[in-house]
Subunit: 332 residues, 2 copies
C-alpha cells in the first residue's frame, strides 16, 4: 500500500512509498483510509521535536474510512462499515488523566497517512451520517482535544462567555463551533485579520488582535471578563489571560506554543480564585460524547484544503506556516 | 470598651485604648468577645501593606464570645448564646467567587481585638460545644480558608494523598487536621525541624524540608505523587509542586508569600493535566459546612499561645517571626 512515512534523507523529511500490510493481530481491524487530516503533532514529528522518533513510521492521527478486514473473533458486521478512528490509544480508566501507556496513533504506531491502517476494533466509531469522509477524517484529534477542554475541564455552561485564542488552528475552530452549539457566547482572538473576519462571520460576538497592546482593555470593556478561556499558546500572554478572565473563571490550555511564561501574577490568581487547567487529547468517554455532540448539533468541521498524498509536503508546509483556517485533509 | 487599634504613631503600630461602643443598626448584634485570634492579615495591616488602611481601626478577624445585645427585630433568643463569628462579609451568591462588595472583618470594619464587636446577626454560628472559647476563637478565618481549599476547590476524597506546605501556619494546620479527619493520607513540609516533628506526631506519613534540594525527589519516591497540594507560598517553589503533584492532580494556593514564580513549566502542566487553582477565604456555605465538619469530627484547633490584649505587641511579633505552631490567641 502507499503511505506517507517519515524519512530523514529527503529534503521534505517525508516519503511516499510502498509499505507492506502486516497481518492482523488479536482485536485488530484493517481500515481502508478515505481521508486523513494533519495536526501540529505531525509537523513536530517531521521536525524531529519528539523523543524516540522512529524513522519510517507512517504519520497521521486523524482518519476516516471503510473497514476492510477484521481479526478472528471480531464481529464480521464491521466489514464495510464507514468509520472514524479514535487516535487516543490506552488512555486507561481514569477520566482525570491518561495512563502511562497512553499513545497517539501515528508515532510510534503507524498512522492514517496510508491507504490502510491497522487499529484496535475499540478505536472505531461509526461515521456520523451528516459528514463526508473528508469532514469525518478532520474530526478526531482536534475535536477530541477541544471537546475535553471545553466540557470536561472547562465545565462550560450555556450563556457563559468563552474566549478562544489563536482562532484558525484545528482545536480552536472546533472549540469555537462546539461552544457556539452549546449556547455559549463566543469570542475569538487571532493575529490574522482574515481569521478574525471568519470568526465574526461564524458568529463571534467580538474578535481581538492579540498583538495589539489594548486588546486586554477592550476585551474587558466589551465582555466584562470571560468565564472560560481556551488557549494553546501559554507564554507571557498567559498573564493577559489572567487579566481578562472573570473572577472565579477558568483558563484551560492544551499547548504552549509560546513556551513558558516568564512570570505568573500569583496574587491575582488566588484572590480572584482563577483556575489554570492543563489538558490534552481526551478519554474514550470524551470521544464518545464528542461524536454524539457532533451528531446532535450536526456540526461540520471546517476544511481548509484537501490535498492528495502526493502533495504531502505542500500540506505539511501549509500547516507549518500556520496559514490554514480549518483542517488540512489528505486523501489517498 | 478596651480595644487594640492600628496606630501609626506608636513604635508597635498598635494601641490598647478605650473606644466607645456605637449604637446597633438594623440586623446587627453586639458580641462580648471571650477570645480573638491573629492571622497574617492582621500583621500585614500593621505593616501597612494593604491599600486604604484606616488608622484607628480595631484589628482582628477571628473571635468567639457571648451575644450581649441585639438590634430591634432580631430574635431575643440570641442573647446569652455562645457564638463564633464568620469574618467573611458580603461574599454574595456565587459559590465560585466572592462579590465585589466582599470584606473581611477587622479592616475596614472594626474587628474582634476588643471587648465587644458589632456584626450582622447572619455572621453568628453557635460555638461547637466541644471547643473552649479560645479554641473556637482560633477557628474562623484560617479554618474557613483551609476548608474551602481542601473540599470545594481541591475536591478531596478519602485515601487521596495530600501535601500541606509550610506546616505550622494557621491555614496549614487546619488543612492538615481536616484532611486527616476526611481520611486522606497527609504529608507536610516545613523548613523547621520542630514543626516537621509535630506534623509527624500528628500523623503525617512523611515530612519534607523544602529548603533541601532533594526533597522533590524524595517526596516523589515515597508518595508516587500527590493528588492534592495546599500551598500559600507560590514563588519559584510552585514549579517544585508541579513536579511532585500526580498527573491529573491539583495545586490549590491561598497566598503568595514568596511572590510570583519566575517561570511556569507549562508543558508539564498541560501534558499531565494539572490544575493550578487560586482560592481565598470561603462562602457562607463553606463556613456552615466547616462548622459541621468540626463538630462531626470533634476537631480542636491547635493553640500556639494565649496572650492578653495588653500583650498584643508580643503576640503580633510572634506572628511576624513565624515562630508559632498553631493559632495565636488573645483574650480581653
Amino acid at each position: 500500500m502507499k503511505a506517507v512515512t517519515l524519512n530523514f534523507t529527503t529534503s521534505s523529511k517525508l516519503k511516499l512509498e510502498d509499505v507492506p500490510v502486516r497481518p492482523l493481530e488479536n482485536g485488530e481491524v484493517l481500515v481502508a483510509i478515505k481521508a486523513a487530516a494533519l495536526n501540529h503533532r505531525d509537523e513536530w514529528c517531521r521536525q524531529g521535536l519528539y523523543p524516540n522518533i522512529n524513522e519510517g513510521v507512517i504519520l497521521g492521527s486523524d482518519g476516516s474510512g471503510i473497514v476492510e478486514e477484521v481479526a478472528e473473533g471480531i464481529d464480521l458486521g464491521w466489514i464495510g462499515k464507514e468509520v472514524i478512528i479514535n487516535p487516543a490509544i490506552n488512555w486507561g480508566e481514569d477520566q482525570k488523566v491518561q495512563s502511562k501507556d497512553f499513545q497517539i496513533l501515528g508515532m510510534p504506531r503507524n498512522g492514517t497517512l496510508a491507504e490502510k491502517v491497522i487499529v484496535s476494533v475499540d478505536r472505531l466509531h461509526l461515521k456520523p451520517k451528516h459528514l463526508s469522509f473528508e469532514e469525518a477524517g478532520a474530526l478526531p484529534l482536534a475535536g477530541l482535544t477541544a471537546f475535553r477542554a471545553l466540557f470536561y475541564q472547562g465545565q462550560l455552561k450555556s450563556n457563559e462567555k468563552v474566549l478562544i485564542t489563536g482562532f484558525g488552528g484545528g482545536v480552536a475552530q472546533f472549540a469555537f463551533q462546539f461552544a457556539k452549539a452549546a449556547g455559549a457566547k463566543v469570542y475569538a482572538s487571532s493575529s490574522s485579520e482574515e481569521k478574525r473576519n471568519v470568526a465574526k462571520e461564524l458568529g463571534a460576538i467580538s474578535v481581538y488582535d492579540y498583538t495589539k497592546e489594548d486588546w486586554v482593555e477592550n476585551a474587558l470593556k466589551e465582555s466584562e471578563g470571560f468565564d472560560l478561556i481556551i488557549d494553546s499558546a501559554a507564554g507571557d500572554a498567559l498573564n493577559n489571560l489572567i487579566n481578562v478572565v472573570k473572577p472565579g473563571g477558568k483558563i484551560v490550555f492544551y499547548g504552549a506554543t509560546r513556551g513558558n511564561p516568564s512570570t505568573l501574577i500569583a496574587r491575582k490568581v488566588f484572590w480572584n480564585q482563577i483556575k489554570i487547567i492543563g489538558t490534552t487529547m481526551g478519554s474514550d468517554q470524551d470521544f464518545e460524547e464528542m461524536v454524539s455532540f457532533i451528531k446532535d448539533h450536526e456540526i461540520k468541521p471546517i476544511i481548509d484544503h484537501v490535498f492528495t498524498f502526493e502533495q504531502a509536503e505542500e500540506a505539511f508546509d501549509r500547516m507549518k506556516a500556520g496559514k490554514q483556517l480549518g483542517k488540512i485533509v489528505l486523501t489517498p
